[in-house]
Symmetry: C2
Subunit: 210 residues, 2 copies
Amino acid sequence: MTAPHSVPAAPRWQRRKQRTRAAIEETSLRLFADKGFEETTVDDLATAAGIGRRTFFRYYPSKNDVVFGDYDSRTNVLRAALGAAGPEAHPVEMVRQALRATNAYGADEYVSLAIRIWLLTTVRSLQAHAAWRFSAWEDVIIEHVLARVGDRHRLYACGLAKTSIAAMWAAYTVWLDDGAGPNLTALIDEAFDRLRTGFAELPGEGQSRA
Amino acid sequence: MTAPHSVPAAPRWQRRKQRTRAAIEETSLRLFADKGFEETTVDDLATAAGIGRRTFFRYYPSKNDVVFGDYDSRTNVLRAALGAAGPEAHPVEMVRQALRATNAYGADEYVSLAIRIWLLTTVRSLQAHAAWRFSAWEDVIIEHVLARVGDRHRLYACGLAKTSIAAMWAAYTVWLDDGAGPNLTALIDEAFDRLRTGFAELPGEGQSRA
DNA sequence: GCCCATCTTGACACGCAGTGCCATCATGAG
DNA sequence: CTCATGATGGCACTGCGTGTCAAGATGGGC
């Protein structure tokens, strides 16, 4: 990955592909935001990105997947964060910490993130697609939780994994409703607070953080 | 719905349609179990059910939806159960109770239920489809929870709804792994116990209920 | 019995997503 | 310059889902 002075050649392909990929994603998100997801065909996306329809599917396995960006790298962040947790941490805190890290975005990414999440929570096809995409995250979480509590306790691990992702997803939804500010991490934290207390503490009638 | 002696006519249509619908579902599930979901085309299903391809889509909006059966009536059960909860019940208990009722099946339904859930948790397309199907349940739950805690607390309501469905879903998964016995309700209950305690209580190293 | 309104059915055609195949072209190595 | 590698895009195909429409079945009125 880091050859000092040689390999002046190989990167060229990579760079080019990387740029094409970015171009596809950028123009696609714009078209989705403009015309709507379902109203935009893959032909539109390919034409807008200046490539052939067939080539589009070589960069993204499906129209849905454009919205997810480089999902794999996020999955790796999650895996790394889970692996980095100290053995003394409680499983719930381990997952909380990992999902917080996974959902840490730079300030410049928030605009496109808002579009992505808006699409994800709005468009039926994407909502569905997100479910099995995130199921990969669930599997990673389950694996790490099982490593701690023992293979017998699948319900605990599976339940924790699925509810954690659900809490994250709830934070997404509310975050978007609240204007998609820079507080996504805080909302995820808050959602996990609810989860940790088993939703026992009823919200009082005082003002919420809105 | 219950005209004593009149209406000897109208039901005829209904009965016929009901039987066709049941026939489609039965033969479809069998074909899915035999050949696999993706390997079975809608043409196969229609032919096997003795109807035209176009007619198939008049009974079920998509190939996916066959696996869900009469989903709407289950949703109504959920809505009714939520509405029937006493005002003194804690939101979590209200949801637990409602989802238990929603997932109560007769002993004769467990065989087909196992096939359904097996498909739902196994087939990628169905896994995705289930997500937005269940999102209707989430919406119903959110509505009822908000009516109790106040419209301001969307994160609480949304989080509770999504995590509850997630817990149910986890119970499905483990239920199937454990042989799809008559203990689905118990597993849902157990998943809710975990949820209520915020997954705080770590499973000991003793034997699980397997 | 017959006729008509109504609903159901299935055939055809269409658009769109996704895939296999293959000829063409650009790139980098020798 | 030549060759191998890999990216590209056109073409054709399958499969899902939908609009349209003509033909058939059903029930009511006579």
